[in-house]
């Protein structure tokens, strides 16, 4: 394979990229803007759940409970009603997600040594808020009880490693970074070959002595370069804007990212060998490769709860390995001694992907 030939090809691609006026803003500005905005959005720290209260007891004890909820950062008191039925519209309209009712005999029960029962209703249509709402409510009540002197005999004391305050940003921001890299590189490379055939230069390329490997490499190297610059730029945002700690080595991060990018580029290339038009390239890359990876990577939805078939399928998802690597490198500071299986998996996947793409890239039109 002629290096000089490939270099000539790469130069051509870079010149074309540079001449496209919108490309620069899309490739560089957009990811940074996206990362910044979405980094903030991808918070799973559910706070300020809208709460509506119905105090039917009007005792000191019940007021204590209401205060406990009001003071908690988990809840945001949006209203209180006098009659229990009045709670319904609050939940139906979505203005409140959790409704707490303190029954009439609450203080009396406590006095008599019986358990005071507080009813907590959660809006289950948003299951995450529902689950957490219930859990938080339970927590608030426990805390209130403890404050009044009740003791929990067996105390489960949590010790959280790597992320003691459970700041979800530390995990999700690198996750958004990974998603962005994947989307950008795949988008670029999936148009690679299709554009040439649509323009008519594909035929001209086929008639020259260029070998398939030379053409493919020439197409991919520029995109890899662009992807790398994007990654480095976005990394600045992750490290210095979001202040996500990088406890591992940058070298390990770089290698894992390079491997992952190779997979993404390869997938995009595969798409471009499958598509005849640019619209098809878009469809296939989005539906077949981008969306599944987002879902099956373990970033948002835990893999371990998926049915066995899907769990097996996730082994073929490059993003899954990159996600594990990112988590480990940023927050746990691990290196290749732990990550070598992920690195190997990415290498194997990249090889398979490129081989298939190469096979599909036929030198003859017929």
């Amino acid at each position: 394979m002629g290096i000089r030939t490939v270099v000539g090809f790469v130069l051509k691609e870079l010149i074309q990229l540079r001449r496209d006026p919108k490309i620069v803003s899309i490739l560089f500005i957009a990811p940074i803007v996206q990362l910044t905005i979405l980094g903030y959005a991808a918070t799973t720290d559910v706070r300020q759940i809208e709460l509506v209260v119905c105090d039917l007891d009007h005792s000191a004890a019940s007021r204590l409970v209401v205060d406990a909820f009001t003071a908690s950062t988990y809840f945001h008191l949006v209203g209180s009603v006098a009659v229990q039925d009045d709670l319904d519209p609050w939940l139906e309209s979505g203005r409140a997600r959790v409704a707490v009712t303190i029954p009439e005999k609450f203080a009396a029960d406590l006095e008599a040594g019986r358990t005071g029962r507080v009813q907590v209703v959660a809006d289950g249509s948003d299951a995450m808020v529902g689950t957490l709402g219930l859990a938080y409510a339970h927590g608030v009540l426990q805390a209130a009880a403890e404050e009044e002197g009740a003791r929990t005999p067996i105390d489960l004391r949590p010790k959280v490693l790597y992320n003691p305050d459970l700041i979800s940003r530390y995990f999700m921001v690198p996750a958004v970074l990974a998603l962005l890299i994947m989307i950008m590189t795949m988008m670029l490379s999936s148009m690679a070959l299709v554009r040439e055939s649509e323009l008519g230069t594909m035929e001209q390329l086929l008639v020259t002595p260029l070998k398939p490997a030379e053409v493919l490499t020439g197409k991919l190297v520029p995109y890899a370069m662009v992807g790398t610059v994007e990654f480095l730029t976005a990394l600045q945002v992750v490290l210095f804007w979001f202040k996500v700690p990088l406890r591992g080595s940058f070298g390990v991060l770089a290698v894992m990212t390079a491997l992952f990018m190779a997979c993404s580029l390869g997938l995009g290339l595969l798409v471009s060998t499958l598509s005849r038009t640019q619209q098809q390239a878009m469809m296939i890359s989005t539906f077949v490769f981008l969306m599944p990876q987002i879902y099956l990577s373990g970033f948002i939805f835990p893999i371990q709860n998926m049915p066995r078939i899907f769990q097996i399928a996730t082994y073929a998802v490059p993003l899954r390995y990159y996600a594990t690597a990112l988590r480990g490198i940023f927050l746990k500071g691990i290196g290749f001694d732990v990550l070598w299986p992920q690195a190997l998996a990415l290498l194997v996947l990249a090889t398979i992907i490129f081989t298939v793409a190469r096979l599909r890239y036929r030198r003859r039109l017929g």
């Binding site: 051509k12 010149i15 230069t201 008639v207 020259t208 260029l210 003859r364």
Partner: protein, 324 residues
């Protein structure tokens, strides 16, 4: 219908492109049907036919872009089916779309395409200067191809195909949408190439262009109907059997003579008729016949047959001999 491959003079020169019963089908559709020919070095060989006649498919097979369904072919001594990579280094190709990168400059295009043929360094500098000179783009090296008019693009595309000085060059409808003067300049270029020993294989659907070729192959519906030099192709009409008739009411004259047995074909060209007779002897009777029918004043003149006449003749012949 098979035609003779050529006179003895051509046969002594080296054969650079050959086809032997070359065929290509796409499913049920036969695009190229057992085509055979041999092209000699330095020849300007024209492949004439309408769109869909099989010209582009044939060229694609010769260039190694498409594999033949059956038959054989060689280019520069190499087999098109098995030795395509070797062929690619020895040919130049220019497609209908003048495939140039419109978002690249003249210089960048030259450099890129040269690179694909491994033409670098000093050799590239030499060839680039030649290309700029021959295309007239010396002062426009930095211009984007998108900003160039059609004629310049055409010449640039041709020169990009020649940077590696290939012995054979394939041009597929190279003058589409280009003004007549540019077209003429282009063909002057082709003449120069041919004199320099480069073999030029051109496809076209323009009869005028085909006149500038040394030999022309007539393609229709995938078959090669005739192949010869133009003078000899035109000899298919006996001397004086093609007439040009000027008269006051041409349409009426047409009606009068079109069904006559001695008239093979007649067509209306504005206010003139062009008639092909079975034999030159019938010219007199035809003229008197028209005069007596009151179509005068009229002029009847023997004229040279055009390639179009030849083509139509062969198409008719092929049609009447249609296979069962």
């Amino acid at each position: 219908m098979r035609a003779a491959v050529g006179a003895s003079q051509e046969a002594t020169r080296e054969v650079v492109v050959s086809a032997s019963e070359l065929s290509r089908t796409f499913g049920d559709f036969v695009a190229v049907d057992q085509v055979s020919f041999a092209v000699a070095r330095g020849e300007i060989f024209g492949f004439l036919g309408s769109n869909g006649a099989g010209k582009t498919t044939t060229i694609r097979m010769l260039c190694g872009l498409l594999s033949p369904t059956s038959g054989k072919g060689t280019v520069a001594g190499f087999d098109i089916a098995t030795e395509a990579p070797a062929i690619k280094t020895r040919i130049g190709y220019m497609s209908q779309k003048f495939s140039l990168y419109t978002d690249l400059t003249v210089d960048e295009n030259l450099r890129f395409w040269a690179g694909t043929y491994r033409v670098w360094g000093n050799e590239f500098a030499r060839r680039r200067d030649w290309a700029l000179n021959v295309t007239g783009l010396e002062s426009r090296q930095r211009a984007l191809v998108a900003d160039l008019p059609g004629g310049y693009r055409q010449r640039l595309a041709l020169s990009c195909a020649l940077l590696h000085e290939p012995p054979v060059v394939f041009l597929d409808e190279p003058t589409g949408g280009v003004d007549p003067e540019a077209r003429r300049d282009f063909w002057d270029l082709i003449d120069d190439l041919s004199e320099g020993g480069t073999t030029v294989f051109v496809t076209t659907h323009s009869m005028d262009e085909a006149e500038r070729c040394h030999r022309v192959a007539l393609m229709h519906a995938g078959r090669l109907l005739a192949l010869d030099t133009i003078p000899r192709l035109k000899k298919v009409f006996p001397e004086g059997s093609v007439l040009e008739i000027e008269c006051a009411d041409a349409a009426r004259a047409l009606e009068r003579i079109e069904d006559l047995p001695e008239v093979v074909d007649v067509a209306l060209f504005g206010d003139r008729l062009r008639a092909v007779l079975r034999s030159a002897d019938d010219a007199q009777t035809l003229e008197s016949g028209l005069r007596s029918a009151g179509c005068g004043p009229l002029t009847v003149r023997a004229t040279a047959p055009s390639l179009e006449d030849v083509f139509i003749h062969y198409i008719r012949q092929a049609g009447s001999k249609a296979p069962p």
